[in-house]
Amino acid sequence: MVNNQDSGGCCIDLSQFGAGRGGDDIDMEDEEEVPRYLNTINSSGGFLMVSTDKLSVQYTNVNLHGHDVGVVQANCPAPVRRVVYYFEIFVKNAGAKGQIAIGFTTEQFKMRRQPGWEASSYGYHGDDGLLYRGQGKGEAFGPTFTSGDTIGGGINYASQELFFTKNGKLVGTVYKDVKGPLFPTVAVHSQNEEVNVNFGQQPFVFDIEAFALEERLKQQMMIEKISLPLHVSHWIVRSYLLHYGYQDTLNSFDMASKSTLPPIPVAQENGFNEQGEMYALGHRRILRQLIRSGDVDSAFGKLRDWYPQIVQNDTSTICFLLHSQKFIELVRAGELEQAVKYARAELAKFFGIKPLATLLQDCIALLAYEEPVKSSVGYLLDATQREVVADAVNAMVLSTNPNMKDSQNCLHSYLEKLLRQLTACCLERRSLNGDQGEAFHLHRVLQSGKGEK
């Protein structure tokens, strides 16, 4: 994190503004390894045969001793950072006795016993339809299953339950008291039993998406029941408009809500204090407009007139952002010669400053491409980059407010603070919960709901 003490004590941290190759951190969820095939290394080798594609298993022996079960686990444990995990087996041949089982076991599982016959394991058995979870005796659970049936096993992280399905219908659930990684497990025990496994490579018979959606909705419904202080959304939106200097919008907004909302002084009693944000509203609006339209020169001019202290130090981060944006605009306009001149005059001095190095490098790299928009540094030509600079200028202007109590306030709007708190709480809660379940993603929330209801 960069601490660049610009005037006014406002620290602009470039990473705060998301500067850099726009990486979506939504992919964090997909970093977990997902079971894809059966583990042939630790399976009970002598009693079963796993096909070459590692997705089928057959009992090859005739022995039916209780310690001669043909058990095989998936190549890795079920991923946890999601609402549910699910896999299915198809019973190709129930063999002599149909003693097929599907379930979950831990890494230490004794690989010659049916899942569920040992502690810390779960198994739904086809011959008796019972659920075994750590004891020799099973519990009544569901129907038996045999050749031609598709049986599914899953983990519901939201409710902390395991669940099983038969031919697309939910059979039942059981509480998951085993903490720690669980391996999808399949077992065969009598002559000629043969089972195919599907870890998601093929569509599932059971509608797992609908199931996951249902879980999410359950949680959503619970959350909807919570009550909010009156009009709080309205004030947060208003704060947002004030903070970033969207003056025209703010005026329209205030006009339209005159009839329905209490006047501002009343609201202030209730804790809505926007004195700080009203500061320099007109100026901030103009500056944002200029930068959004690409007119960096005028923005610089206005800043020198109105807030010279901000641009006083020519090697400050804010000056870098403005100069780099000017450079980008020149590249956008195709004025490459001018761009080079400008870079030599204004950008060269930033080369020594470590935190700015990546951004600077990316900017200069624009020159290397005939069609910079299509390059890996093309993101700089996006409108969002102008937004980054506009937000930085906005923060700097706010920081010149002599009445500013907390300098951090100029960096983040209330809305942003609330969203960060929400994300951090969800992540922490998940982490304290064995990392199980979904985290919060604003992006996903914004995408959802389109014609869903």
């Binding site: 998301g18 909807e224 003056q247 937004e387 809305l415 603070k417 609330l418 708190q421 951090a424 604003l442």
Partner: protein, 243 residues
């Protein structure tokens, strides 16, 4: 003797559970976690636009589009139409409102018998309010009674509304609340929601849900940790954990 040990074991377990302390997260640690969260300006803009659009602030949405470059998720023209309907109901011009809704999308009233009944009921209320007794009776008998026959709850509503006619001094009658402006607002809100739904748009803005989620997430985390909370949504101020 073994019973003794069982009890001792249970007492020990209970004791352990009570002294299982929650994880304590200091202000500094928490702020670091907060700083690791990146919220895209673009997403926040979308959230605000979604609020303006769903709540019907057409002009503000238009201005916001210009000032921020955020595209609204529905056609702003449809908001104007929707707001016109809402306003018509709020002013008591129900006939006008019904016409406008049908112009917008004739299926809305066709597929929403309850909404249509409430609009007709509002029409009746307005006739009564304006003292047009004969017209009101005719309207009730011709338009509303047939609907009442199909549906028990409609019939009850109809009877309640007609009861208004029986009183000289409506401010004191038991169903006087029907003449209140809140009744108009209720109907207006119902129409607004129906139009939004017909446009495959969620009828509620996303922001309040997120705020509720924040409250919920903090409550959930309270069970396992002590950390700086935001107790006042309107100031978003972090309050240090009480130790």
């Amino acid at each position: 003797m073994s019973l003794f040990w069982i009890v001792m074991g249970q007492l020990a377990a209970a004791d352990e559970e009570m002294s299982t302390s929650k994880k304590v997260i200091t202000r500094e640690e928490w702020e670091k976690k907060l700083n690791d969260v990146k919220v895209k300006k673009e997403d926040m803009n979308k959230l605000v636009m979604n609020f303006l659009v769903t709540e019907g602030y057409v002009e503000a949405a238009e201005k916001f589009r210009m000032e921020s470059g955020t595209e609204p998720d529905i056609d702003l023209a449809t908001i104007t139409d929707r707001m016109a309907v809402k306003k018509a109901v709020q002013c008591g011009n129900v006939e006008d409102a019904i016409e406008k809704v049908n112009d917008l999308n004739p299926e809305i009233l066709d597929t929403n018998p309850q909404l249509f009944f409430h609009l007709q009921q509002q029409r009746l209320i307005e006739l009564i309010r304006n003292g047009k007794v004969e017209e009101a009776l005719e309207f009730a008998q011709e338009e509303l009674a047939p609907r009442g026959e199909e549906n028990q709850s409609f019939l009850e509503e109809l009877e309640r509304t007609v009861a208004l006619l029986a009183f000289e001094d409506v401010s004191n009658c038991p169903v006087g609340e029907l003449l209140d402006i809140s009744q108009r607002l209720k109907t207006a809100s119902e129409v607004n929601a129906a139009i939004l739904t017909s446009q495959s748009h969620e009828k509620d803005p996303k922001l309040p849900s997120l705020l509720k989620m924040l409250i919920w997430a903090q409550n959930q985390l309270d069970e396992k940790a002590v950390y700086p909370r935001i107790n006042n949504l309107s100031t978003a101020a972090l309050e240090d954990p009480a130790i």
